[in-house]
Amino acid sequence: MQDQFIKMDSITKIYPPDTLALDKVDLEIQEGEIHSIIGENGAGKSTLMKVFYGMAPPSGGEIHFRGRKAKFATPREAVASGIGMVHQEFMLIPSYTVYENVILGAEPAGRFGTLRHADTKPKVEELVDTYGLNIDINSRIGDISVGAQQKVEILKLLYRDVDVLIMDEPTAALTPQEAGELFARLRGLNKVGKTIIFISHKLDEVLELSDRITVMRKGRRVVTVDNRGLDKAELARAMVGRDVVFSIEKAPASLGEIVFEARGLRYVDENGVIRLEGVSFDVRRGEIVGIAGVEGNGQYELVQLVTGLLSAQSGRVFIGGHDVTGEDVMARRKLMCYVPQDRKVSGSAQNMSLVDNAIMTHHRLNPEIEDRCEALLSSGRCRAFTSRLVEDFGVLVPELDAPISSLSGGNQQKVVVGREFMLDTDFILLDQPTRGLDVGSIEYVQEEVVRRRDAGAGCLLISADLDELFSLSDRILVMSRGRVVAELRPEATTREEIGEYMLGAKDAQEDWRAREEVGK
């Protein structure tokens, strides 16, 4: 007890005006362990770490670090004491190089305040080598993948020589391959003595990686256990307080008419790079079509073409039998609902209230929230609508007028998903719909998707999570380099096979490379 490495004592955090986010949490973390924190959306995981890291002042309680009382007023102080945190949303400058981002805020200043790169550049390079990070420190952040950006965040902390690494949902935006790499890296860091605090909703990862696991629920620490002989179901029960189904039951699809069709889509971006080429497929009522692929292989552009945010150079899009190729976003939204990939940028306005976020798109399409005069919205009805959404989708909110930024990440996601499902259309486009959700909420969303399917809606699901694709989809399309390279049935294929298609090692339709040669 006396010489705890990190000891949090009765930490309480009240977000003004009166959200009790942490309620007397005690937590001990030992030196050199990998300690995972799991819990439902809004349980207070991020908040606990922010309090520890000096990003949010606690309302009560004490923190001891290395036997001494620690009270970090800012993250800078925490870093100076050897504690670093990688946030779920990265904080890098896209137009700077990796190296510049790493030294930002800790620049080696010479005389007259000039930068001295002579000493530091080799140091950064050496770090990259020592920890096997495998990135080019001269490339621009904007040009590298999300996985690589995360390495930069880690590199930043290593450069500042931290001993404790806090990672808040680091794998949410990573592909399975990248996540695998990350784990190897974290284990390597752990081996050289770094202590790692790991927050995740993916229980498999948690079980694979951690030495000890802490479960939080509703602002309290429920239990801390050694990771020995635990199983997933047990953990999930501790988290949400009930049994959770991991792979949902669904009846075989009963197909109806075609509800969505893409025909020969081709898209070339402004730099002349071909992003999509000859993409044709359809989705029928009553089925869920999943799209697998490594991020950046055309899924993003496909989604934008379907929603009407981009327009294709050639090809057509049909929704519900209508040719919507030339139509704008709102005309299409009458026929489809759409859960965008990043809730912060496209799915919400962080400073607007929950109500204002909940009525987006409905404000034009849903007569339920209109006032007597058609051009006006009734604020009473908008609130009633939002309350219904909050209730139906189990969103944890302080009050309807609070800005959506005061909701935990997962609860924001529920608002977005709920809003779209309440549009109640026959075609559903889901881009990473369960990103950042806890197991209980994932189950809820997935069941809801299946319910809609069984009620006759057609669903197109883009997901980086192969488990999700396997458990939900009736068909899986694999995209690689802007084309659909395979169409597979989940019951008749394996992860390995899909992986090969994703990486382009295998091509069912035609040899892409050969065509490319001919094209030149």
């Binding site: 977000y15 005690d26 009560g60 239990v223 034009r364």
Partner: protein, 360 residues
């Protein structure tokens, strides 16, 4: 609502207190000066009505800027739109002679349309050539300024006068003054009511606000950002144009004189910024600013504090409110949180050792 008004009130009070200190430090009698400031702006019928007169253009230019900024359109062309609105009403009032019942609504319409056309040019340039309205609206101010100057010193010059100004408009276009109360203020109030409803309750208003907060979000949600942008620019210009038009229609002058725009437009921009584009706050700050502007004359008379002191007060309000908007809110919130903490502690004592965490 409450959350926005409270920091605003605190800002005003603190600014007044700071002004008190400055007056005292400068050797003026602070309390008497303030007494004069308010008695010459509020505490007599005449004073109060002149404050309302002053508030009329400020409310409108404030609304104009708030609509623009709040929907992510950087319309800084209020000065130009104001002048064009005033000039259009003048020309209309000189050329057309109808009974007041027709003339007044038509003149208002002319002012609105003229202002909207002027901002519409900037909107069109942005849509067509992707030119930033931030630059184009500013440049259009110069054009409006020199164009109206040319008109009043050439084609529209009143030959009987020895300074650049136009003849008077026909009396049909004059807004009545009842017992010293200028009815132009009622027009501003009506505009305020319409714009508030539009902004806070209408569908297009919702789209403006969403676009102002996050254009990608509103576009993804299906809002027609391009159209919303054009409408916001037009409304913003129309309001500034109306402010100009009312300068001709109200008051006693009824002609376009050099320098008629004064600083109304920039004051409006400032008001919108202080009010954080909130409509009600915009109206309140417009009234407050006109109180100090009107009262400062009286203060000069009574205690010989230079009337420029009103600028100092305005500056303090702006700096204080804008700089402390966040911190005041945080402070208020923290006080609430602290109270709740106390309550929670009280509850715990009552429950004894109601602890929950256990170790596995």
């Amino acid at each position: 609502m409450k959350k926005q008004v409270l920091p605003a009130l605190i800002g005003i009070v603190v600014a007044l207190l700071a002004g008190l200190l400055i007056l005292w430090a400068q050797g003026y009698p602070p309390l008497e000066s303030y007494a004069a400031l308010f008695s010459y702006s509020l505490f007599s019928k005449f004073a109060f009505f002149s404050t309302l007169d002053k508030a009329t253009p400020l409310i409108l230019t404030g609304l104009s800027a708030a609509v623009g900024f709040g929907s992510n359109c950087v319309n800084l062309g209020q000065p130009g739109q104001f002048l064009i609105g005033a000039m259009a009403v003048t020309a209309f009032g000189i050329a057309v002679d109808l009974p007041a019942g027709l003339m007044i609504p038509l003149s208002i319409l002319v002012a609105l349309v003229a202002g909207a056309c002027w901002s519409g040019i900037a909107a069109g340039l942005r849509r067509r050539f992707k030119m930033d309205e931030f630059i184009t609206t500013l440049m259009l101010n110069f054009i409006a300024d020199y164009f109206t100057l040319y008109l009043i010193s050439g084609p529209m010059l009143d030959k009987r006068m020895y300074s650049p100004l136009t003849p008077m408009t026909n009396p049909g276009a004059w807004l009545p003054i009842w017992n010293g109360f200028g009815s132009a203020f009622l027009v501003a109030v009506a505009a305020f009511a319409v714009v508030s409803v539009l902004w806070n309750r209408s569908k297009i208003g919702y789209e403006w606000r969403a676009m102002g907060q996050n254009p990608i979000f509103s576009r993804t949600g299906g809002c027609r950002n391009d159209a919303a942008y054009v409408w916001a620019m037009l409304l913003s210009g129309a309001l500034a144009g109306l402010a100009g038009g009312l300068m001709i229609m109200g008051g006693m002058q009824h002609r376009f004189v050099k320098g008629i725009g004064a600083n109304y437009a920039w004051d409006g921009v400032m008001i919108a910024i202080v009010a954080n584009n909130n409509m009600i706050a915009t109206g309140l700050y417009a009234l407050f600013f006109s109180v100090i502007q009107t009262g400062s004359m009286g203060m000069e008379l009574e205690t010989s504090v230079p009337s420029e002191f009103s600028l100092v007060l305005q500056a303090i309000v702006v700096l204080f409110v804008v700089a402390s908007r966040e911190s005041t809110r945080v402070l208020i919130n923290n006080i609430t949180a602290e109270l709740r903490m106390r309550r929670a502690r009280g509850r715990d004592k009552g429950m004894g050792d109601g602890r929950h965490a256990s170790n596995g």
